[in-house]
Symmetry: C2
């Protein structure tokens, strides 16, 4: 796999990001290529400090950084040479297959939408997060890409999460639940109540509302491919 890593994204970037990259390269032979995207001098210094000379690394210079204080959409539009923008472009032009960033989530989402667009029928991207339960893992989606989602957005996220659960994690007929403020069918705010109706009418394996304390319960689904 070929990965573009936003070397400037995160609270202790680029130091901790490069340290993580060096560790990852040691442990993961399946990485064929790792683009370290960001300030070439700073990245070079960190690699030298770590005495890391892995031939799979390629430094890809980007002169700008989007900080946590910036408005995502504005920053992505104005900072053409930001590390996260350049990293996403590496996926767009086929050099890389995935982007990894620990930086501004909104900026990563905005750069991805602007440059890669969403799938047909999907209006907004979502952050999918794998979380452990007592017995296996589940997908929390959306975990932070959208501060305001419509019921239609939530259905599209549910479909993407179910497809991911089935085809990447290997769950058969994965169940979908809606996180709300109560388990009863009519509990929720205007958005989740409408989403409940849409999910119930869909062909998804919908099990209803759940609350936060239900997230980590033991599940019967058998995880075939993924190992935590």
């Amino acid at each position: 796999m070929r990965i573009a890593l936003d070397a400037m994204g995160g609270d202790y970037a680029p130091k901790n990001i490069i340290e993580g990259a060096a560790l990852g390269l040691k442990e993961l032979p399946e990485i064929e290529k790792l683009y370290l995207v960001g300030d070439a001098t700073a990245i070079g210094t960190e690699l030298k400090n770590l005495n890391c000379q892995d031939p799979r690394i390629e430094i890809y210079h980007a002169s700008e950084v989007i900080t946590m204080k910036e408005s995502a959409a504005k920053a992505v539009r104005h900072k053409k040479d930001a590390s996260i923008c350049r990293a996403v472009e590496l996926v767009k032009n086929g050099s890389a297959e995935a982007v990894v960033s620990a930086g501004h989530t909104g900026a990563a989402v905005a750069a991805s939408v602007l440059k890669l667009r969403t799938l047909k029928g999907i209006e907004r991207p979502a952050v999918a997060c794998l979380l452990p339960t007592e017995s296996n893992v589940f997908v929390l989606i959306d975990a932070g890409a959208n501060p305001d989602s419509t019921p239609e957005n939530l259905i599209q996220f549910a479909i993407m999460g179910a497809v991911f659960s089935e085809h990447v994690l290997g769950y058969k007929n994965p169940s979908v639940a809606l996180m709300s403020i109560g388990e009863e069918d009519m509990k929720g705010n205007d958005v989740t109540k409408e989403a409940f109706k849409l999910l119930k009418a869909s062909s998804l394996n919908f099990r209803g509302n759940i609350e936060g304390h239900d997230l980590f319960e033991k599940r019967s689904g058998r995880l075939r491919r993924f190992h935590w």
Copy 2:
């Protein structure tokens, strides 16, 4: 203090509610009167089982119960003789000074609004919850009365919370924070971003956005009257 207790509200009502009432009466001499509102026969049986004959108790019969599965507004309108409705009426007619219920939050809120109305300038009621920090307590408001709040609602809740903090808890010039998905000024969804502006323009001691992990931090405010 004279209290109306919804004896039928809660997962293990009336048994656990009556047990709690008996314990409370033993420990709190400031309770002058305790109305146990609900099915008189069931309440009588529980009191007998506990051998509780406290003279401050008055059983106030109500023939109906609002269950967790019901729509709050509808149930309050149709079940005139529900325990929570009768308990609120005891406050309205001056018999009691406060209602306590461990039952359907929405029903307690709906009954209160319908029968007692809100204060002038306050459009919606809010649930205020006292939570401990390392050093004292703080008020979380709204803690569940409204699934959908407008920015204007949030400002009104902030004012009520600040007044409560100052006059009930004894904090001087209590600070107000807005719980959001990031600490930076522009983080949040449409509702919290607008509320941020209104709070900043208000005369409240507004300290900005906070995240969940900030809630329990040590605070400098000195708590004068309240003991946890």
